[in-house]
């Protein structure tokens, strides 16, 4: 009887602890960094009217 009780207790503890660990585990955070040059921070201008290089 005592063995069954202890086995049941261990099983219950294992399930409960795994549930708690899963529920409280901190989530991973993915980070993306994108550099933005000043050229991208300008007024929207139709590119057809901008001359960038030599012909």
């Amino acid at each position: 009887m005592k063995k069954i009780r202890i086995a049941l207790a261990i099983l219950l503890l294992l399930i409960s602890l795994s549930l708690l660990i899963w529920a409280f585990l901190p989530t991973l955070v993915e980070s993306r960094v994108l550099p933005i040059p000043p050229a991208d921070l300008q007024l929207p201008t139709p590119s057809a009217f901008i001359y960038y290089g030599e012909v």
């Binding site: 005592k2 009780r5 202890i6 049941l8 207790a9 261990i10 099983l11 219950l12 503890l13 294992l14 399930i15 409960s16 602890l17 795994s18 549930l19 708690l20 899963w22 529920a23 409280f24 989530t27 991973l28 955070v29 993915e30 980070s31 993306r32 960094v33 994108l34 550099p35 933005i36 040059p37 000043p38 050229a39 991208d40 921070l41 300008q42 007024l43 929207p44 201008t45 901008i50 001359y51 960038y52 290089g53 030599e54 012909v55």
Partner: protein, 252 residues
Amino acid sequence: MARKLILIFLGLGLLLLLPACGAPAAEAPAEEAPAEEEPAAEEPPAPEVMPTALPTQDLPIPTQAATAIPNIPEQRRLTLEFPPKIRAGDSDLVRLTLEMDDLGNITPTAEIDGNEIIGEMVEIPNLYETHTIIAESRLDMAGLEVIPSETVSEPLLPGESVTFYWSLSAEDVGEYRGTVWLYLRFMPKEGGEESVKTLSAQIIEIRSTKFFGIVSSSPAKKIGAIGSLLGAILGFPFVDDVFKFLWKRVKK
């Protein structure tokens, strides 16, 4: 005698006339040499006729005009942070930051064999002086609850960063895809038409999970807490003696 004199005069006259008649033919080769030099000597007037063609060949003028487009004289960095996996029933945050890039240098700099070459500073009209700039952002994601769901805006000030937060929560298991949009709205201070520029559109994928596909986050916490307590009581070595002792006290 008179005939002889007349013939002599006629002969002289012919001699004088011959060079006059042959002059164009005879002198032409002699004049051709200077004629070749003359165009070179006479070319200075030619450029006076050509200046209309020069501006189209001298293209640096439009180049300078193009580089002088007003912009924000800052190097910035856009950082997007999101959880690739969330628990169903839980909520998490998505953060988008448009911050100053400390490493960013607007002055173009190069280093060759230890010699540092620093580019010239170009006078670029500052957009902060002429426009009010608003950073606007939105997170579009179907299937997940996103708060706030509408476009969020914040003024973009010189040297200051802008941060947007969204709270996400999922009810069901699944893979969800969405887009994080960032716009810049330019509002002229002197009035006029506003313009909007899309700065970034980043696709994100978030997976929602359950414990073995059955239990979501909040029930898992409750079941885990109660189960742990019961398991600890059941597994306690003297729990039999404790129950017997309590049973006896109750009986008495």
